[in-house]
Amino acid sequence: MDSAIQQKTSRRVRAIEVTTKILFLVCSLVAALTLLLIIFFIFSNGIPAIMEVGAINFLTGRTWTPTHSTNPQFGMLPMLYATFISTIIAFILGSKIGKWGAIYLMFFCPKKIYRPIKTMVELLGGIPSVLYGFFGVAVILPFIRNNFGGTGNSLLAAIIILTMMILPTIINLGEAAIRAVPNHFYEGALSLGASKTESIFKVVVPAAKGGINGAYILGIGRAVGETMAVIMVAGNVSRMPGTLGDFFQTSTLLAPVRTLTSGIAMEMSYASGLHRDTLFGIGVVLFIIIISLNLTLAILNRNQTNYAKES
């Protein structure tokens, strides 16, 4: 009698377990299938377009006149360059501010102001990008226009907006990475006679490198992928803002630019035929950039212990 009930219960438990397992498998497959579908869709539309234009032409052409009546040109170099430059500079600024901000929050911040600062950083990360764009239009563009001339819609405006947008990602994840380093690293360094600053910068932060690299890559990913805010401030002209050599002239920083993502977003609803397919071609390039970023992270962290991941 007793064992019969037990058997019945255990059978029921097993049934529940199997059903749950299947349900959860389906749930995880939804995400994986979505990725495969996106890859398939972008590549099946984009690769033929790239072939038709010619990969070299597509990647190194400087003229983007997709609706030209006799001789349309599909050169995406200006967009690639704009994405590259704005991301790199925003990253150089944002990674330093973010990393040092995270270190301050973790080691030097008085308890009283930790909560407010931390909450505000988290909120900053949750603000929809169109609001960053709105801030750019209302504050950054007039500032640039009044102080440096021109229209304000420029590479500089894009860099400022992107720097602001990647800060919360880097601060939050960077702090989590540093916090995950076991406490005895810090204490051990102190007890060996290192000063507080030495312990932090020579022991704890290097130990958190894996997690901090992860924060950097996610920050870069956000900068590369940001669309709406950039459309609102960058001016969206697909033209080289200057060559690498004369980059540090103000005219380069003040020139309007169009990034890869804004190129796709602005023209997709108006495009048809080869024009539309080349936008998928830009999507292919964007996808490859993001994949490479993730691979870079994997390679960088090959020999790093990521304490944030282990705990």
């Binding site: 529940i16 059903t19 749950t20 349900l23 959860f24 389906v26 749930c27 939804v30 983007w64 006149t65 997709p66 609706t67 030209h68 009546s69 006799t70 239009v137 563009l141 007039p142 226009r145 229209t151 304000g152 819609n153 459309i231 609102m232 001016g235 969206n236 002209v237 309007p256 169009r258 602005m266 023209e267 997709m268 609803s269 108006y270 495009a271 048809s272 035929g273 024009h275 539309r276």
Partner: protein, 291 residues
């Protein structure tokens, strides 16, 4: 406690899966059966059906007004207007996703292979400047040369000594296509900024004292920009209709050459009727059919 947790999780998962399944089924049903379900309803009864209209963001508001008036006058009909841009609207009409595509530019040769169109309203593109700009009139040639990059300073056309900031629309935009065609600057236009949508152009012109741009007339009211006269003629319905204003554009409804369902045909015919054209006039566009 543990059991309860499992139950909650199971319940959630079941709801989620069910929801997904329903959405998936709904999607399938839509794409598979829309043509077959609407066709019989139209053939069997005189009343009703669904018409999907999609396209130009410029044309969508007046199409929506037509749809509302049409539905008020014809019970049993549903007209759905989606605003997505001329290019996407033409694609939707070609692929049969939409019954009618809306265009604010002339259809190109590729589109005319499968589509026919009717012009149901006429609008003007106006050249706009910042409200503080003293230049209130430009000749057609001056406008042309500004957009070609031959005139680069406002002082050359009687304004302040300041560089002209030329603001354009995205490649493929209906308004851009029409403007470049009408201003005879196709393929050679120079610009300093590109606004996203008509609103992007308006915002940029409002923000830059020395800017020049173009949008359709209906959008200018209430914005801090001024519309310049062309060769002394300000935009008006009459000027657009008699050709004295050079930047008049047609609003088109495009549909499959191979034929449309009865509900769509009813709506297309009604839009060109005196009742439909009265709605166009009430929206302050120029009717395409003078009654």
């Amino acid at each position: 406690m543990f059991k309860k947790a499992i139950k909650t999780v199971l319940g959630f998962a079941a709801t989620a899966t069910l929801g997904l399944a329903l959405v998936a089924c709904g999607g399938n049903n839509d794409s598979d059966t829309t043509p077959t379900t609407t066709a019989p309803t139209n053939e069997s009864g005189s009343a009703g059906g669904t018409v999907i209209v999609a396209g130009s963001t410029t044309v969508a508001p007046v199409a929506q007004a037509l749809a509302d008036a049409f539905m008020a006058a014809h019970s049993g009909y549903t007209v759905e207007v989606q605003s997505m841009g001329t290019g996407a609207g033409m694609t939707a009409a070609i692929e049969g996703v939409a019954d009618i595509g809306l265009a604010s530019r002339n259809l190109n040769a590729d589109e005319l292979v499968t589509l026919d169109y009717q012009t149901f309203a006429i609008d003007g593109i106006v050249v706009i400047t910042h409200e503080s700009n003293p230049v209130s009139n430009l000749t057609y040639e001056q406008i042309r040369n500004i957009f070609l990059g031959n005139i680069t300073n406002w002082s050359e056309v009687g304004g302040n000594n300041a560089s002209i900031i030329v603001i354009s629309r995205e490649s493929g935009s209906g308004a851009r296509g029409s403007f470049e065609y009408l201003a005879n600057v196709v393929d050679d236009v120079m610009y300093d900024l590109i606004g996203q949508g008509s609103n992007g152009v308006l915002t940029s012109v409002e923000a830059n004292a020395n800017a020049i741009g173009y949008v359709t007339y209906g959008l200018v009211a209430g914005r801090r920009v001024s519309a310049v006269s062309v060769d002394g003629t300000p935009f008006s319905g009459a000027a657009a209709a008699n050709g004295s204003y050079p930047f008049a554009i047609g609003f088109h409804m495009a549909f499959q050459q191979s034929g449309v369902n009865a509900a769509t045909q009813t709506f297309l015919d009604w839009a060109m009727s005196s009742a439909g054209q009265a709605v166009v006039a009430a929206e302050e566009y120029v009717p395409a059919v003078s009654n």
